[in-house]
Amino acid sequence: MNLITSRYFPWVFLVAVAVLPLMFASDYKLFQFTMVVVYAIAVLGLNLLTGYNGQVSLGNGAFYAIGAYVTAIMMDKWDIPYWATIPFSAVICAGVGFLIGLPALRLGGMYLALTTFALAVATPQLLKYKLFDDYTGGVQGIVINKPDAPFGLPLNPDQWLYLFALTVGAILFILATNLVRGRIGRAMRAIRDQPLAAEAMGIDIAMFKTRTFALSAMFTGIAGSLGAITIQFVAPDAFGVPLSLTFFVGMVVGGGASIGGAIMGALFIQFIPNIADEISKAAPGAVYGLILIAFMFLLPGGLASLIRILKRKPA
């Protein structure tokens, strides 16, 4: 209990998750953990936008898709190394996010949710569009190669990829933590809770909203890049509406407006479908739904609220 509430906990946690799986986990498990890191970044991206800033997005899968495709195309067509594609995908996704944030300014609540939902619906088709066929590989998608560990490190590709994703993830999580703790984070939350009061205090709402959109898109896009490298395959039909909804589930289950919640949400969306499949082959979807409902009943504040409850109790 003391450990969990200690301020050093995040660092202990980070070192533990970096070292322990490398020592004990099989390649397959490492692959799963890599996907947890990827999803955690994506959920964090959505959380910044929806949890902290109150702009509901059901279309973040589109940014994930753009990130994935930027990486896949650069690796496949121009032989650019995987790590070098990530800054490009971050910048491109941030740009697209900013542009989408502009019309989003005029829309609130359900209307914004619906607009972003339309984005998620449109993504697979745009990726299939004939004009881009030469680059995107059309419906066939793109297969990419898995990177080896650099500098002759004694790691196999799965181990290296896990460490790489974890490093990128850690940087983004630290960035997000600092951001939401400071002035910007307060402004984001103020806009979510009391936009009028926020404006009266001199917060430039339009600027904050569009930049939060850009930031969210950037995080999600980086997750997409890492996801593409991990899965080694991108295809339009992998980036439909279900993906966006998965991120949304991860955010709500993990806990809105919580950094640590993103990790727990990612664990949920990665592992619960497997558990549901173990329980019933006849209707794993129904089992998943039941687990989801149970979670919402028992922990309406998301998994992150569990830690808050633990913290509140004197040790």
Binding site: S26, D27, Y28, K29, F31, Q32, M35, V121, P124, Q125, K128, V139, Q140, G141, V143, G227, I231, Q232, F233, A235, D237, A238, P242, L243, P273, A276, D277, K281, A282, A283, P284, G285, Y288
Partner: protein
């Protein structure tokens, strides 16, 4: 004796196969008492209706085990859910290969899903056989020697329509409606194969649509305007039903070829209107469980007896179970041909040496043939016409062109 002669045939057929010598034998997932097989199905998600196929597999191998297994070994089929999401397919394939250590993957479902794992399976040199998808690309032994399809590909089906048109309607003017994805494009390629140099003489124009479009009405109108008298519709059920209705409502009476993906009476013909679909031609390779022609058929009786005993609650009009039965029967033959050598190399080799295999649920005359250069197990189909009540088979079996 029997096994020896089988092996001899197989050996002779494959003496020149590259697989036979290039690698040392790897036996994974097979012990003296068990053969471990992996399978991935969309038990949840948008394609969960296909989960029936996986449940069919489980029941089928339960029967195999009750009857003593294969070569004294029980079949342990591990089937996992991917929710039809390619990233999940990769995860499940890795689990089956790396953690569960299966001998091979059998019949994973879905074109994007199998695309996502094809490279991995071939890098790992794990057989990836009899896939549950009709894409044509699974028959590419040169580049992917560890991957093999099963059902006739969409491309083969389109070749067959082209062959029929050239023979029976040499003056036809054809318009094509295709879905803008892997599935639709395979049809286009198949028609091009089939018509060959005469493609531009026959086909006036191609029209495409997106699977997320609301309707194909405008395409139908434009197709009529081309003056075509024959149409080929490569569309999934919802759009196929719209097409049938629209063509009828425009009082247009073209010769209409419809992909067998959308030949379902329940999902397409009834919603479109049974009278509006009269005269439409599709093709089949397996027996339809709802067709009374097969009421006394020995093969289908075998299947019905199996269903009654092992899947008593299941819907026997669901073609997924017939499909499963056929694919599983094919696999059993492969495993029998393996003799006592269950190395991955030999399993793949035997999958590629099936000769005139007859499957009880396939149409009479349809046989399964594979070789080191032919990874398309089923290549024959028969046309059938909707008579207002049921699909009626007619004409001879037609075989696709090319290998």
């Amino acid at each position: 004796m029997k096994r020896r002669s089988l092996l001899a045939t197989a050996g002779a057929a494959l003496a020149s196969a590259p697989l036979s010598r290039a690698f040392a034998a790897t036996v994974v997932g097979v012990t003296a008492t068990e053969i471990k097989i992996g399978n991935i199905m969309p038990y949840s998600g948008p394609a969960s209706a296909y989960g029936a196929i996986g449940r069919g597999h489980v029941a089928f191998f339960k029967r195999v085990n009750e009857q003593g297994g294969i070569a004294g070994r029980k079949i342990n089929l591990i089937t996992l859910d991917d929710g039809y999401a390619p990233p999940k397919t990769v995860e499940q394939a890795r689990r089956l290969v790396e953690q569960d250590q299966v001998a091979f993957l059998f019949n994973p479902l879905g074109t994007p899903n199998n695309s996502a794992i094809q490279k991995y399976m071939n890098q790992k040199k794990v057989p990836h056989i009899f896939l549950s998808t009709g894409a044509d690309k699974w028959g590419d032994p040169e580049h992917f020697p560890w991957t093999m399809g099963w059902q006739p590909s969409y491309r083969t089906e389109a070749q067959i329509y082209a062959k029929y048109i050239m023979k029976n309607a040499p003056n036809a003017k054809v318009a094509v409606l295709y879905q803008n994805d892997d599935f639709g494009k395979d049809y286009l390629i198949g028609l091009k194969d089939g018509f060959g140099a005469h493609y531009s003489k026959y086909v006036l124009k191609e029209f495409s649509f997106e699977v997320t479009d609301a309707t194909i009405d405008s395409q139908a109108v434009s197709m009529q305007a081309t003056g075509a008298d024959t149409i080929v519709t490569a569309a999934t059920p919802k759009f196929a039903a719209q097409m049938i209705r629209k063509v009828y409502d425009m009082s247009w009476k073209p010769l209409h070829f419809l992909t067998n993906v959308s030949a379902s009476v329940g999902a397409v013909i009834t919603p479109a209107g049974v009278e509006k679909a009269v005269g439409i031609i599709t093709s089949a390779y397996a027996k339809d469980p709802t067709d009374s022609t097969w009421d006394k058929d020995a093969g289908m009786n075998e299947w019905r007896a199996f269903m009654k005993q092992y899947l008593p609650e299941a819907d026997v009009t669901d073609g997924g179970y017939v499909f499963s039965y056929g694919a599983c029967t094919t696999l059993v033959q492969v495993l029998k041909q393996c003799g006592d050598d269950f190395s991955r190399e030999n399993i793949m080799k035997q999958a590629a040496s099936l000769k005139n295999l007859v499957i009880p649920t396939l149409l009479p005359g349809v046989t399964i043939n594979t070789s080191a250069t032919n990874y398309h197990p089923i290549r024959q189909m028969q046309l059938s016409k909707w008579n207002g009540k049921t699909w009626e088979l007619f004409g001879e079996l037609i075989e696709g062109t090319g290998a």
